[in-house]
């Protein structure tokens, strides 16, 4: 009876706790939030970046046209846009913008700023760089009938366009600034976001203070914040434990989580989610013998992903086995189908025998090559070591070369590598975003395999223009099959996100992407 009562009490307590989540409490205004950023951005320009280091730095200063509603992810909501409509032919988006919005320098925000921003995104000029040029290539024209309305006319139906409008990388810049210098956002911050820029002490921190004229009334809650660069995980964890920082919003490994939970107990909040991030193996098909599909396929077939995921998930942020779309998300290939694809068999012994046979056929029984990798401990190093071991088991000798991120990426982009551990850093589960990495190199220079494959391009185009979800899924799976059969690139494992925050940090919302939710507008301190 006592045990029953105890169980009931626990259950009631759990229900009571669930009924009063952190977000339901009344937010308190004020305070300064110190949080860790485990990398320092080389510049401030969101359009020219693919690293969270830029977003965690810049997001609090900027707004975007649309954004994701994180508690209801992947639902989209307006940010600078108050509302929007899509024409019946699905080729015209009309956005109504908030009025009374001002840039931090006092300049009123209008539709002209949206136009200037998106013109820069789709067609950068004057030395500006846009990593989203291909994403917005379907935009035919941007019109601004009045200061609070902006109209995007598309060349063709694009099933992913709304998701692209919600991209966190599309920071809205001032038309005035861009007219003066197309590259101004690289070094100057002037947004409409919840915080205004105070200082960036290189190598140390970035600081922001409340934007008193932020267009969302009552926000932000914090007086100020400081993003402190903690380049070493150990230093970051110490700082978190010691209370110098109250959060790190990217993610930590399971071992780091366990250490912090043991040290901090109930002062720490642990939030976990699958992650829209994967590591992948990329072959440079311009470098023999990787121009031979048999060699590439053999190497992929030698990898025991299912076994590896069990071991690696204990020591690193790598966890789920999946294809090109995040496992478990609506467009992902189910496991039953996935295991039929090369590299995903659960019978690793048979798979490796076949791999050896393929290498023999290709005359590459004594294959040796260099595997390029980033010198980041988590999870790149364990992933690299894992791959070296997997390939050793079919008699392949691999030199594991780890390098700083910038020279590593520069080498990969220039094609100066044989095989690399690459990454796919997404912010949603939309197929177009995930698949664009595999488009022919002639169409997307970011395709590291440098392969040109018209079949893949055709399937990509079909899924992009398809409004019917079932049909679209069919095209996506066909593309995935083609990609893995040709073995240009293949996801190794998908990441698992673990975010640690002090329980005094409230209002921050967990999501499957570390690129989202960085504006800190609704974050407050329960102190």
């Amino acid at each position: 009876m006592k045990r029953l009562l105890g169980t009931l009490s626990l259950a009631l307590a759990a229900v009571a706790f669930a009924a009063s989540p952190a977000s339901a409490q009344t937010p308190k205004r004020g305070g300064n939030l110190n949080f860790a950023i485990s990398a320092e951005t080389p510049h401030y320009d969101c359009h020219a970046s693919d690293t969270y280091a830029t977003l965690h730095f810049s997001s609090p200063f900027y707004s975007t046209l649309l954004r994701y509603n994180l508690p209801k992810f992947p639902q989209i909501e307006g940010d600078l846009a108050k509302s929007w409509t899509l024409s019946p032919d699905k080729k015209t988006y009309t956005f109504v913008l908030h009025d009374g919005v001002k840039f931090h320098d006092g300049t009123p925000f209008t539709s002209a700023d949206i136009k200037a921003t998106y013109e820069r995104l789709r067609n950068p000029t004057g030395g500006a760089v846009s990593n989203r040029k291909a994403t917005f290539s379907d935009i035919e024209a941007i019109e601004t009938p009045n200061p609070t309305t902006v109209v995007f006319k598309l060349k063709a139906v694009n099933a992913s366009m709304l998701d692209h409008f919600a991209s966190p990388w599309n920071c809205v810049y001032s038309a005035k600034d861009l007219a003066a210098d197309a590259n101004a956002p690289r070094t100057k911050i002037n947004g409409t976001g919840p915080f205004t820029f105070v200082e960036h002490v290189k190598g140390s921190h970035v600081a922001g203070k409340r934007n008193e004229s932020y267009f969302k009334k009552g926000l932000p809650y914090l007086d100020s914040y400081r993003g402190i660069f903690t380049l070493q995980a150990a230093a970051m964890l110490n700082a978190l434990q010691g209370g110098q920082v109250l959060a790190e919003f990217r993610g930590v490994s399971p071992a780091e989580r366990d250490r912090m939970v043991a040290a901090m107990g109930d002062k720490l909040r642990v939030e976990e989610s699958s992650w829209t991030l994967n590591l992948l193996v990329a072959f440079n098909i311009e470098k023999p013998p990787f121009n031979d599909v048999r060699v590439r396929k053999a190497l992929l077939m030698a990898i025991d992903r299912w076994g590896g995921s069990q071991g690696l998930s204990r020591i690193s942020t790598l966890r789920s086995v999946g294809g090109v779309i995040r496992p478990g998300s609506p467009l992902a290939t189910p496991e039953a189908e996935l295991v039929k694809l090369p590299g995903f068999s659960k019978d690793i012994k048979k798979s490796r025998e076949e791999a050896k046979k393929l290498l023999k056929e290709a005359g590459q029984e004594n294959l040796k090559f260099t595997l390029w990798n980033r010198n980041l401990a988590m999870p790149y190093t364990p992933a690299g070591i894992f791959l070296v071991d997997q390939w050793r088991q079919i008699g392949v000798e691999v030199e594991h070369k780890q390098s700083d991120t910038a020279p590593y990426l520069a080498a990969l982009r220039s094609g100066n590598y044989e095989v690399a551990v690459d990454f796919s850093n997404l912010f949603n589960d939309d197929a177009t975003l995930a698949l664009s990495k595999y488009l022919s190199h002639k169409n997307n220079p970011l395709n590291l395999s440098r392969a040109n494959d018209d079949v893949i391009d055709d399937l990509y185009e079909k899924q992009l223009r398809e409004g019917d979800v079932a049909k679209r899924k069919g095209f996506i799976q066909a593309l995935e099959k083609r990609l893995f059969e040709q073995a240009y690139q293949q996801p190794l494992l998908w990441w698992h996100r673990i975010v640690l925050t002090h329980k005094t940090v409230m209002g921050w919302k967990m999501s499957p992407s570390h690129n989202l939710g960085g504006d800190l507008a609704e974050v407050w301190l329960n102190q």
């Binding site: 110190n34 080389p42 020219a48 970046s49 693919d50 690293t51 280091a53 830029t54 950068p124 030395g127 500006a128 760089v129 990593n131 040029k133 291909a134 070094t187 002490v201 290189k202 190598g203 140390s204 921190h205 400081r226 402190i228 660069f229 903690t230 380049l231 070493q232 150990a234 230093a235 110490n238 700082a239 434990q241 010691g242 209370g243 110098q244 920082v245 040290a263 700083d404 991120t405 910038a406 020279p407 990426l409 520069a410 982009r413 220039s414 850093n425 997307n444 220079p445 970011l446």
Partner: protein, 317 residues
Amino acid sequence: MLRYVVSRVLLTIPTLLGVAVLVFFMLRIVPGDVVEVKLRGDGGNVSQEAIEMERKKLGLDKPLMTQFGDWMVGVATLDFGKSMWTERPVMEEISLRLELSLQVAIMATLIAVFIAIPLGTTAALFRDTWIDYVVRIVTIGGLSIPSFWFGMLIMLSLLAFFNWLPPITFTPIYVDPVANITQLIWPALAVGYRYCAVVARMIRSSLLEVLNEDYIRTARAKGVYEKLVISRHALRNALLPAITVIGLEFTFLVGGLVVTEQVFNLNGIGQLFVQSVSRNDFTLIQGMVMLIAAFYVFVNLAVDVLYAVFDPRIRYT
């Protein structure tokens, strides 16, 4: 003496010039392109046009000798140009970190000198007694334990015993001396321990050598107080090799604390050096090499001058 100092100062000019020539041209031989790393290094899809524009902006489109000439003109006026990566003045990038690194080096030196001199002297005077053994254990410990690891122990101990850590961002000493010292005393202790061990062992061995010299025996035979024999005659001479070590260690500390800076999350010169090398940031590397070289030259000069102060037999002509 003055003539010696002036001639040594003048000699620094060809020395630094040699360093400048070497660093400039050797960096250009090293494979890697700063523009590629800068623009493609965060994963971007960059057009060739953007790369060429950036190359032009950084002056990398000019002939090598013109680039060298431009840089040398700048160096002569203490203008080291702009960082190719951050596009901020090199002097600004360095001075931002130099204050912290210099302060850690000075604090570590003070800790080392003030502990090492009595420690080394005591060990020598009580040779082969338990005092000597304790000092030897402590100093061997200092030499064996890497500074960064000792730093990690300090941090974990502070967390475990006091649930406290020093501030994580740098505050200049003139803004808030307490916050400044609270942050920097720990890395200074971490590196100062090893530094102290090196100096203490040097003082011990050289003092033992000096104590066997004829002039010490003579002083004692003349009835000079033992304290005076030690402080005035023995220690002054025994300090000479220690001064050289102190000078070299000090210069090393200014730019060589890469891992210790990471442990304490310090924004110092060591980290900047590593970052600038990995980014092929030529102008910043050049500026930092010139700075470290200048430090070595001037600290060595100071060491030579101190030699004369401590040992009047040494006179430079």
